[in-house]
């Protein structure tokens, strides 16, 4: 038995419906033929599934409290749909991104999954995930149902690969007790640069370092991204050919962030998550953190806290956000029933995403976001106000590698090891190299 022969045979069958690209002729190109190319997704998308019983494997990285919310939703879906059984497997995100492409390529991939926006393009280029344009079309989903930045995030090479499940922006979390002690209005968190600095000065004279600046990716890099866009800059130029984060807006942004440490509004060498711990202990007042923080803070029954959109420090409103997107994986032998059932599932969950929002997210769908029920979740609703000016990194394969250089730059600057401008320009030089390598590799 030659495994390649059977593998190719299986693919050949599937390819009848579409455009699988077989590179088997290339001698040294490895066994990639099985996943390369945007595979076919021939099944007509549907809102209902009437075929024989199918079971779907759904993998994701919801290891925290969010996993429990997803489990509840899936149980409900399974009871409502007698002929579809979805089973969920949870990995840590790092393991998930390692296993999924390899599993898909070896023919044992799951049917459905979740990907962060900055991974969609990479996996689309690798041929791991399938285009979902027909799903969007048959469900008549459009930009208006979501919001422009969110909807555009799942598109790569003019094809849609991800259906947004949620948006998780940064927000301002504040400790009301500490603010009150420093003579600040606990119901009116600072919203502008001036208000922010005034608040920090008052906190300082009350003996509190009011806004801890973490040097780590969570959430220092995200804070920097937000500031960069607020000062009118961007991470990369159009088409992601060159890094632009080291230009003036970037330097202004990183200088402002580093000054929190320099001017004593933050201690030096803040440890991972120590900023949030300090907020809970009353040693920190204002923390820019991810919306997932809502879960953590809600556990603290005695803590008086609030959440608001991030202040506008620069010249325009902007905030970093991530997004979980539904994806469908390519299979060695295509099963139209499973594809259809999978689409029914995606559509169903995305309409029920209110439950999901309770796990500390903003639903991607506008109708859910505007429902009275969602508005009754005060913290989530407060952060959802930012939805029209959230920013994502460009949808380019391998962009995550280029973004890692920014993580290093923020780290070096906040730890006062390098001047902001120097840290950024060093990082930009590396990012340019990576972008160029990526273009060669992914053929962009």
């Amino acid at each position: 038995m030659n495994p390649y022969l059977t593998r190719r045979g299986a693919l050949g069958l599937g390819a009848g419906a579409g455009t699988a690209i077989l590179l088997s002729a290339c001698g040294d190109s490895g066994p990639n033929e099985k996943v390369t190319g945007g595979g076919p997704n021939a099944a007509p998308a549907a809102t209902a599934y009437t075929g024989p019983n199918v079971s779907l494997a759904f993998w994701n990285g919801f290891t925290g409290g969010d996993g429990a919310f997803m489990k509840t939703l899936i149980d409900q879906f399974n009871t409502e749909h007698q002929n579809i059984k979805v089973s969920m497997n949870v990995y840590q995100w790092a393991d998930y991104y390692q296993k999924v492409p390899a599993a898909v390529s070896s023919g044992n991939g799951p049917d459905l999954g979740i990907m962060h926006v900055d991974s969609v393009a990479t996996n689309a280029a690798r041929g791991v995930i399938l285009p979902l344009d027909d799903l969007a079309a048959s469900l008549s989903l459009t930009e208006d149902d979501f919001s422009p930045p969110v909807w555009q995030a799942g598109v790569y090479n003019q094809k849609r690969y991800g259906i947004p499940l949620d948006v998780h922006p940064l927000g301002l979390f504040y400790n009301k007790t500490v603010m009150e002690k420093a003579g600040l209005d606990p119901e009116k968190p600072p919203a502008t640069a001036d208000e922010y600095l005034t608040a920090l000065d008052k906190l300082k004279s009350a003996g509190v370092q009011g806004s801890w600046a973490t040097p780590f990716q969570f959430t220092g890099s995200m804070w920097f991204h937000s500031l960069l866009w607020q000062f009118g800059g961007d991470l990369f130029d159009a088409g992601a050919q060159k890094a632009t984060f080291a230009q003036d807006p970037g330097v202004q942004a990183l200088t402002w962030y580093t000054d929190l440490v320099r001017k004593g509004y933050s201690p030096r060498n803040v440890a991972q998550d120590a900023d949030l711990v300090a907020l809970r202990n009353g040693k920190n007042a204002l923390n820019w953190n991810g919306i997932w923080t809502i879960n953590t803070l809600s556990e603290d029954k005695n803590l008086q806290w609030g959440a608001a959109p991030v202040p506008q420090i620069g010249t325009q409103k902007a905030v970093w956000a991530g997004s979980h997107q539904f994806v469908q994986f390519k299979q060695r032998s295509q099963d139209d029933n499973k594809l259809t059932a999978g689409k029914v599932f995606i559509n169903w969950i995305s309409q029920k995403s209110l439950e999901w929002a309770k796990g500390g997210q903003v639903p991607a769908r506008k109708d859910v976001r505007e429902s009275a029920e969602f508005k009754a979740l005060p913290a989530q609703a407060a952060l959802a106000q930012q939805i029209d000016y959230v920013h994502y990194p460009p949808s380019v394969p391998g962009i995550g590698d280029a973004l890692n250089t920014v993580v290093t730059a923020v780290n070096e600057s906040v730890l006062l090891r390098k001047e902001p401008a120097k840290a950024l320009s060093d990082a930009a030089a590396k990012a340019d190299q990576i972008l160029e390598q990526n273009r060669k590799k992914y053929g962009g």
Partner: protein
């Protein structure tokens, strides 16, 4: 052993005509299965790896551009994207090796000396000290991650401290080294014990007559007597420490940032998670060369002592 060999030879040549007749091909036939596996999973990958390291190789992409020595060059170019991370990981491996090897050489020796005498329960104690080694790194890893948890862990509870065992330096290193000593101490101790038992009693008696005391006995009889096993123990311990993966993967996960991410961890992550296989292959050749050099130096050190 030489005698045995001579006898084998003599037997082959005289008393053993059938065996001699087959000798041309039979031995090779017996070796075939081993060498198929050896060629397939040692030789071939060693060469294939070199080929991969000359490409920008993502096995899921059609394009695997040939890049010549770029992957190697990048490892020595401070401006490259991998430079810092790679050397950071090599440094982590270095720190771990330097910190753990001396302990793994000395502590097991002390334990071996402690139980190297006849007494009731000797086998029991030997087994107890060896027991953790029977468990894999996965069990050890998840167990100690829980025990060392800064907030919920039993270690802090017992000591009455709030030490950040897994999340801050130097504690993360202390934890990793400590857990490794706990885990593999029994292995080296058992080998030392076997070595100690091979030292002829007469040597100790002679030393006692010379009247040098315990320390002289240790220096002039025990240590030289252990020389044969010592070479194995040193090389084996150095290689194992330099290949540390599971402990850091499960206990600190590289924390606080990437400080405790070891070379093997970074190579595996680069090649098999980020699918930058060319770069990862280049890194592993560099690591292999470094380890071979170190092995060679250790061999030399032992030889010059002769």
């Amino acid at each position: 052993m030489t005698i045995l060999q001579e006898r084998t030879q003599a037997a082959d040549e005289t008393a053993n005509p059938p065996m001699r007749r087959n000798a041309s091909i039979t031995p090779y036939l017996f070796l075939v299965p081993y060498f198929v596996l050896f060629a397939g999973f040692m030789l071939l990958p060693a060469i294939y790896g070199l080929w991969i390291s000359l490409h920008d190789w993502d096995y899921l992409l059609p394009g695997k551009p040939f890049v010549g020595l770029d992957n190697y060059q990048a490892l020595f170019d401070p401006a490259s994207a991998v430079f810092d991370f790679f050397w950071q990981s090599m440094q982590a491996t270095g720190i771990f090796t330097v910190a753990s090897v001396p302990l793994l050489l000395v502590v097991p020796l002390a334990v071996a000396l402690l139980i190297n005498r006849k007494f009731p329960g000797r086998t029991f104690f030997r087994a107890v000290y060896f027991a953790p080694y029977v468990l894999g790194v996965a069990v050890i890893g998840v167990l100690w991650r829980f025990l060392l948890d800064p907030n919920l862990g039993a270690v802090n509870a017992v000591l009455g401290t709030t030490t950040p065992w897994t999340t801050d330096l130097p504690w993360a290193w202390i934890s990793l080294v400590g857990v490794t000593v706990w885990w593999t101490l029994g292995f080296n101790a058992v080998i030392y014990l076997a070595g100690l038992q091979d030292i002829p009693r007469e040597l100790y008696e002679a030393a006692r007559i010379d009247g040098g005391g315990k320390w002289a006995e240790f220096r002039h009889v025990t240590l030289p007597g252990l020389r044969p096993v010592l070479l194995f123990v040193v090389i084996n311990t150095v290689l194992n420490s330099a290949n540390m993966f599971g402990q850091a993967y499960l206990i600190t996960q590289g924390a606080p940032g990437v400080e405790t991410r070891t070379a093997i961890m970074y190579i595996a992550q680069t090649g098999l998670r980020d699918f930058k296989m060319g770069s990862a292959a280049a890194m592993s050749y560099l690591l292999t060369i470094a380890l071979l050099l170190i092995s060679l130096i250790i061999f030399r050190l032992f030889r010059t002592k002769d």
